[in-house]
Symmetry: C2
Subunit: 448 residues, 2 copies
């Protein structure tokens, strides 16, 4: 009898699970249960639709219905899970028309994702307070932009800043409010953040750091935001304040949560319950570098975990090596990226890190169009192993982050990186790769 694989959630993680499972077992009966109307679309693309760089939300649908057919996947959209019996290995589902039915499984994968987290600040439920996680959110945001005169972005992470850029492109200069002392605090140290903040401010956008939102003002609709006693007028407010894992179903069926309150999995993405796997925004991850457990709710992490979970759920063998949190974005004319630990994070872990910083150009200095680049490398001081990097440049950041990520994975030292065999041609790089120079600066500090 063919193996019955059921996947709950059809977004990046769930669809990735289905794809890997199908490649592992050509005969399996694979069912995907999705409560939304649309299956997998790229959430990461939402701010770029709002900015007008992508013409319409429909373009974000990365797995069209035809793909599910081609892969012989049984996709049930607008369907909710009522309950799961892990002893009987059966799932009670309810379809859009209200009909309930029972679905047996041999292996089950929870890819239930996450939802926007709106902090319970006074007035958070007023009209005009928005999140940006789903296409529905995007449509609502776009509609609101048409009439809005003043906007506030709460939270200066990548999504907050990307959406600030989208507002700017729509002739609305938002005010950005970040509670922590600098922007992008999970990926940047203050020195790097200050450079990015300056770039944003050059576009006429005000950034307030180190201050929280005390209240959202207005009757039923937002009229302003109170920050450190002062009132900022606004008729739309984006709460870009992170996400929380969807774990209700997991808890209901007895799946163990970890220290982060997200689903706990082992390196094969298996939960504590036999034949139940999980992956994506609803699970916690182990950091490759520190061994610590934390959250890494990135699309790239989701698809990588999904491939492992899908392979295992279909009878194959695959392990997930952990995360480094490599991430990148682009807005206001700069590309920014980071991986591993910041100097601040490493210091808090007691690592006494050293760092090397260099500013250079992305092409030969004499080549037209050469853009500024700043690289910061962070290392531990005994063996000089690289533990992180932060890059801000006019172009070509993504693959530099990937290079450092690979270096961290393979315990590369700043001594090795300073002498790495990098390539160059005048239109595409400087003779001395800035990353190698940053490593050299770090080496110089160690030898001082």
């Amino acid at each position: 009898m063919p193996r019955k694989i059921v996947i709950i959630g059809a977004n990046a993680a769930g669809s990735g699970v289905a794809s890997a499972a199908r490649k592992t077992d050509r005969e399996a009966e694979i069912t995907i249960i999705e409560r939304e109307k649309y299956p997998a679309y790229s959430r990461c693309g939402l701010p770029f639709v709002l900015a007008g760089e992508i013409s319409e939300f429909e373009k974000l649908i990365i797995f069209p219905l035809a793909w599910y057919k081609m892969m012989k996947l049984n996709l049930l959209t607008e369907t909710t899970v009522q309950s799961i019996d892990v002893k009987e290995k059966s799932i009670m589902i309810k379809s859009a028309d209200g009909k309930e039915s029972t679905l047996p499984y041999d292996t089950l994968v929870l890819a239930t994702g996450a939802r926007s987290f709106i902090p319970p600040v006074k007035g958070y439920d007023k009209d005009g307070v928005l999140a940006l996680r789903t296409i529905q959110d995007g449509i609502k945001f776009k509609e609101k932009m048409k009439s809005a005169k003043a906007a506030v972005i709460v939270g200066a992470g990548f999504i907050g800043l990307e959406t600030a850029h989208a507002l700017f492109e729509n002739k609305i200069n938002p005010i950005i409010v970040e509670m922590l002392p600098w922007i992008c605090p999970t990926v940047f140290d203050q020195d790097t953040a200050n450079i990015v903040q300056k770039k944003i401010e050059e576009h006429g956008i005000k950034v307030i750091v180190g201050k929280g939102v005390e209240e959202i003002l207005g009757d039923t609709s937002v009229t302003g935001v109170k920050v450190a006693g002062e009132t900022i007028p606004a008729d739309m407010v984006l709460m870009a304040t992170g996400v929380r894992s969807n774990t209700e179903l997991a808890v209901q069926m007895g799946v163990e949560l970890g220290i982060t309150k997200a689903i706990k999995v082992n390196s094969r993405m298996a939960t504590n319950i036999s034949d139940v796997y999980s992956c994506g925004d609803c699970v916690e991850s182990q950091n490759m570098l520190t061994g610590l457990i934390g959250m890494c709710q990135l699309g790239t992490t989701a698809v990588r975990q999904a491939k492992v979970a899908g392979t295992n759920a279909a009878g194959g063998y695959s392990v997930f090596p952990g995360v480094l949190g490599s991430s990148v974005s682009t807005f206001f004319g700069v590309e920014i990226g980071a991986t591993g630990l910041t100097e601040f994070q490493a210091t808090r872990l007691g690592l006494k890190p050293i760092s090397g910083v260099v500013t250079s150009k992305t092409r030969a200095d004499y080549f037209p169009g050469a853009k500024d680049i700043r690289v910061k490398i962070v290392a531990e001081p005994e063996f000089g192993r690289i533990i992180g990097c932060q890059i801000v440049a006019g172009e070509e950041v993504t693959q530099r982050v990937n290079m450092i990520s690979a270096g961290i994975q393979k315990q590369m030292t700043i001594f090795e990186l300073a002498k790495a065999d990098t390539c160059y041609a005048p239109p595409v790089n400087e003779t001395w790769e800035p990353i190698a120079l940053a490593a050299e600066m770090a080496v110089a500090k160690l030898r001082r």
Copy 2:
């Protein structure tokens, strides 16, 4: 008494030596002897000046005279070395005005570089047969382009192809002749080369592979080139057929050459003669991966070796870790790059390599401006260690090559690379990094 350091050659290698030596020893008396009029300029930029992308040759001068002053370097241009007495540690030099003098040294660095190699094919000395190595060559080439009607490029390496593109930009469609069976044979396998060749041919440029030039025709000036019995009309011919190390001085003073007939050095860039170092295009290099000795006459290799040689010549300690030959170029709308071994080269070394190939996009498929990318990863089949890559794309090749180069340096396997923690945002990458997917394709072959 301050240390006396003498450097012969003031180009990328020589000036790099001087810079590193000055940083190591603030008090040293550093003299650089250069026979050309211009000190360090970027040879790699010459084709891009010819293409009109860089406005003038003067822009290529990367170390202006002011830099030598600032670094307190005694620069002697238009000066030749008459003889070197390694027992007395003194150098007889002759300046532009014909005056001879003697220069003592404590340490000496030979950075004598290389010169164009013109194969002794019949008619090679006719007017209109050109090389492209110096600014003088560039000026001559540019002048010739003004009147030329038909051009032939002999040798389809990066410089040959970059110059073909320059001719194309000047409305002269050259015919490219490569003796070996495919273009860029030292960095690409045939499958990769065919893709690049097609890109070039799409621009209306004919590429002839597997055939050598038999004769250069014409009276005193070139009128054509004979290839496999056929005559190709041409009034200018670029011989892009490689370079040969300048070793005359080294031989004269008793410096040992290696199996490649270039100068033999150890990992500190020291020659067999006490206190005499060498670096750049005149030395041979050890491959990091194979341990084999060969030539790696790249600007990036020269500056890396120069830093090591300069540090050691000034009393510091630095070792050169070897080369992988990472290189990149861009022309005819594609960026191309490679590092390590090709499948062909690895096969000849008996490694029985496997490879993985993937074609994808450089941005999210739905993001405007996404360009094609093709990645080929080569690995050895026992541990799956990466031994090379070849990348052709519309953009973002350079740093991918650097990532793989770092991976090879750190013995990364295709298993690890397939699950590397890469980063993504819709405007700058696909969710699945193409390099990781290529590694996965190679893994699939190993497991078949």
